[in-house]
Structure formats: C-alpha cells, structure tokens
C-alpha cells in the first residue's frame, strides 16, 4: 500500500459528505434512501389496510353504520387541507430549485400551518367522538344492532388516523428543520436535497390520507 494512504484525501466541497464522490451521487442516494423508506411505510400501513379489508368484508353493515357517525365535513375539509399543503410543499421545492429563498420560507410556513389546521380539525373530531362515546372500550356506546362490530370499525379508525396523525407530527418536525436550515441560507439552487427529500415524506403522508378518507368516511353514505 502506498505510504501516503491517509494523506491522499481530496478537499471536499461543503455539504458533500465524505463517503460520496460528488453532489449528484449524494443527491441520488438521499432521494433513493427516502423512496426505500417510503416503501417500508407502505407496508407498515399495509398491515392495517389488511386488517381493515378483512373486517370490512366480514361486517359491511357495521362498518357502514360506523362510517356514518364520522363527521364528513371534517374529513372532506381535512382532505382539501392536506392536498393544499401538498401543493404548497411542491411549490416550496420549486422555490428551492429556483433559488428563491423568500418564497421557499413562505411556502414551508404555509405547509406547516396547513398541517396544524389538519391536526386541529382531527383533534376536534376525536373530541366529538369521545363525547359521543365512540371511543372503543368500556364506555363505547352504539346502536345495539351493530355495537359489537362497529367497535372494530372505530378501533381501526382510531388506530389508522392516529398513526397517520403521528406521521403528520413527525412531518411537522421535519418541516421545522427544513425551515430552520432554509432560514440559515443552507439551501441553494445547487443544494436542495433536504427540501426535496422532506417533501417526498410530506406527500406520502398526504397519499395515506387520500386512501383513509374514502375507506373511513365514505362507506355507503347514501343510506342516510
């Protein structure tokens, strides 16, 4: 081995981690890493979707009855809110790509605000369901014809939306970090991986909701 092994390092540009050769490699690695993580997330929620599918198939009437008790206006509004936040997230990435720092900060802020609105509405819904005794457990009350299996529906509802909300909260944490590093001027049109990768996560959380909404809120609405 050459004796100057340890000395033979080329000076690295800023933001380029030592293990990468160039910025392109780093960018592609980061993006691929996030995509692989999202594949994991798909299967994580997949276990819940499987459970949902099995029981909805077994107890369609109870699931419809449970679904009717959810606040459809809240679910619909939240869908719109999340889709809008996805738009502002996409625009934030666009602003980062074009090097517009002020717009980037603005869109990140709007995205976070919309995320908070979503969680606020969700919290209101949880409160409503609590008041109406739709939280599974000893206090659960429901039309006796469907009570047993409506409880399964509500268990799934709370677990699925709860895990989704947890992902939203993590997303807000990521967004705050994005905001912080953008504020410090780390993000440029040359280096915007973090915004792009963080954005992928945010869009994924949006997609989960896009499926949760019809599965939970829109079962046989015509019956009422």
């Amino acid at each position: 081995m050459s004796p100057d092994a340890a000395a033979g390092t080329v000076p690295h540009p800023t933001h380029l981690a030592h293990q990468f050769d160039d910025a392109g490699q780093q960018r592609e690695a980061a993006s691929l890493g996030m995509w692989v993580f999202l594949a994991t997330e798909v299967l994580f929620f997949g276990g819940l979707f499987t459970t949902y599918l099995v029981y909805r198939n077994w107890y369609p009437a109870a699931f419809a009855a449970g679904s009717h008790e959810l606040l459809i206006w809240a679910g619909t509004t939240n869908t719109a809110v999340l889709i809008t936040s996805s738009l502002t997230m996409a625009l934030a990435v666009h602003a980062a790509q074009t090097g517009n720092r002020r717009l980037l900060l603005l869109f990140l802020l709007v995205t976070m605000a919309l995320g908070l609105v979503f969680l606020g509405i969700k919290g209101f819904e949880y409160h409503t369901e609590y008041v109406e005794h739709h939280v599974p457990g000893a206090g659960f009350q429901f039309d006796p014809a469907n009570a047993q299996h409506a409880q399964l529906f509500f268990s799934l509802y709370f677990l699925m939306t709860g895990l989704h909300a947890l992902h939203m909260i993590v997303g807000l944490g990521i967004m705050s970090t994005m905001f912080w590093i953008s504020w410090r001027g780390v993000i440029t049109s040359e280096y915007y991986n973090p915004i792009e990768v963080g954005g992928l996560y945010w869009h994924f959380v949006d997609i989960v909701w896009i499926f949760l909404f019809p599965l939970l809120y829109l079962i046989a609405r015509h019956a009422h």
């Binding site: 077994w58 107890y59 009437a61 109870a62 006796p144 014809a145 469907n146 047993q148 299996h149």
Partner: protein
C-alpha cells in the same frame, strides 16, 4: 389415513436420502480428489453450463410438483369427512379436553369410540388456541375460539391412542394430553349404556332453549318475531340485504353470539347477543338442539 400419510412420507424419505447422499458424496469426493497440492494452485476454469442449469432446475421442479399433488390429495381426503359419521363434540380449555357425546355422556381427556366407525370430532376452544393432535391417526387441527373445526378418523384397531395439545396454550400446555380409547362395538355399547345422567345433548339444549326464553321469539309456528328453526339445519338461508348462507354449526353458533351479523330476510335485528351468557358447552347443546328440530 395413517397409511396414506406414511406412504408419502417414506417416498419423501427416499428422495431426501438420495439427494443428501448424492450431494454429500460429491462434495467429499471433490474435496479429496481436487485437494490443493501446492499453495499456488488455482482451479480450472469451469464456469458454467446452460444445459446443466436447466436440468437441475427442471428436474427438482418436476419432483416437487409430484410431491405437491400427492400431498394435496392426501390433505383433501383429510379435509373431507364422510357423511355417515358418528359425531362427538370437544371443547378445549386451559388445560383439558372436554368431550360431549350426542347421547349426553361427558368425558374429560378421554374419548371412547367404537372401532371401524367414521368418527367426526367437532372442536372449539373456550379460551386460547389449542390443537387436537392424535399422532397414531396422523390427525391434527388447531382448535380455535369462536369457530368449529372438524376432524375425522376411522380407527382400525382397538386400543388407547395418545392425544396431545400441539399448539402452545400456556403454563400447563404439556399437561393437556389425553387418550382416544378405541373399543370393540360391543364394549362400546356397554360403555355407552354405562350412563348419561343428564340426558342427550339435544335434550339439554331444549331445556336451555326454554330457560333462556329463546322460544318466545323462535316459535314452532310462523307467528314468532324470529325465524322458525324447525328443519333449518343444512338449509340455505336468504339474508336481509341479499346473499345466502348455509345453516351449519358455525352459522347457528354465530347467530346466537352475534345475531346482527347475518339477519334472515324479512326479520328485524332485534335479537340480543348471548355472548358471555352461554358457555361453549351450552352452545354445543343449543346447536345440537337446533339440529335435532326436523
């Protein structure tokens, strides 16, 4: 059934021995024959052979497909009880097997059956999953709470056969054993007449049916608020909101515990659940009573 399982088993043993010996023999032979003679030796460039690859993909595939078909056909026979069976109910609970004969005899951890008869065991569990395993009959099925599982056998020789619980079920899992006692028909008759103090299963069910006030709605005429149960068993039931279901043991059981899950067409979901009000043993009596209503 034991014969069929063993035939396939020994066929597989032959295949396993053949391939194990082939591979092990080749490895040892190569390792000796081509052992390194000097430290600088390298192997000869033999890097692949398409024909060989195809051969050792296709041949195992064909062998495994033969095994699959054979194994599946054995299983299909296991899962197809004949129609002329002598039925016995068993409830598994931590950590015992409770048997009930149709005539009302009850046994714990021991089941008496006549030799040469097709016997069907209808099994369920009161708590966790157990597994009904009689090695001599090559017979096993998990006994699952909330469901009826059928097993069947035809014992060809009198004797005592070991019964195990094969699904781990808690502290005294290894104590959840028992025996199937296979008797000559005459001995079996003698054993049967030995006593059924409480009357048959169906008669027990009839008493329950009255004491739980089932008969106020399920009347024998069509004036009740619930469907008529006479002649129900084995029929196809039209359901409210479309669909049909065959009225088997599982359906009757479900209708007692979760009445709203499947509503008979033309009726209201007004029946209360009996979940927690009847034990598994009593459920079996009720099921047997409904079956007896011809």
């Amino acid at each position: 059934m034991a014969g069929r399982v063993d035939a396939l088993y020994f066929f597989l043993v032959a295949i396993a021995v053949f391939f194990s010996v082939l591979i092990a023999g080749l490895i040892v032979y190569f390792a000796v024959k081509y052992r390194r003679r000097s430290p600088t030796d390298v192997g000869q460039p033999v890097t692949g052979g398409t024909l060989l690859e195809i051969a050792w993909t296709v041949v195992p595939l064909m062998i495994t497909m033969v095994i699959f078909v054979w194994g599946a056909s054995v299983y299909f026979a296991m899962a197809s009880p004949p129609s002329d069976t002598l039925n016995v109910y068993v409830v598994g609970k931590q950590w015992m097997w409770k048997f009930q004969h149709l005539d009302g005899q009850r046994e714990i951890n021991e089941l008496h059956v006549p030799v040469g008869r097709n016997v069907k065991v209808i099994a369920t569990s009161e708590d966790v999953i157990h597994s009904f395993f009689v090695p001599a009959f090559r017979m096993k099925a998990d006994v699952i709470p909330g469901r009826y599982v059928n097993l069947w056998f035809n014992a060809t020789k009198p004797g005592r056969y070991q019964l195990f619980c094969a699904e781990y079920c808690g502290t005294r899992h290894s104590g959840m054993t028992g025996a199937i006692v296979v008797m000559e028909p005459a001995d079996y008759q003698a054993w049967l007449s030995g006593g059924a103090p409480e009357g048959s299963l169906a008669s027990g069910g009839e008493k329950l049916f009255a004491s739980l006030a089932c008969n106020t709605c399920h009347r024998s005429d069509t004036q009740g608020r619930g469907p008529v149960l006479t002649g129900l068993f084995g029929k196809t039931v039209m359901l409210e909101g479309g669909g049909t279901v065959t009225a088997d043991e599982a359906y009757i059981r479900e209708s007692i515990l979760m009445p709203s899950a499947k509503i008979t067409a033309g009726f209201q979901p007004i029946m209360p659940t009996f979940q927690g009000l009847v034990t598994e043993d009593q459920l079996l009596q009720l099921v047997e009573y409904v079956k007896s209503l011809k």
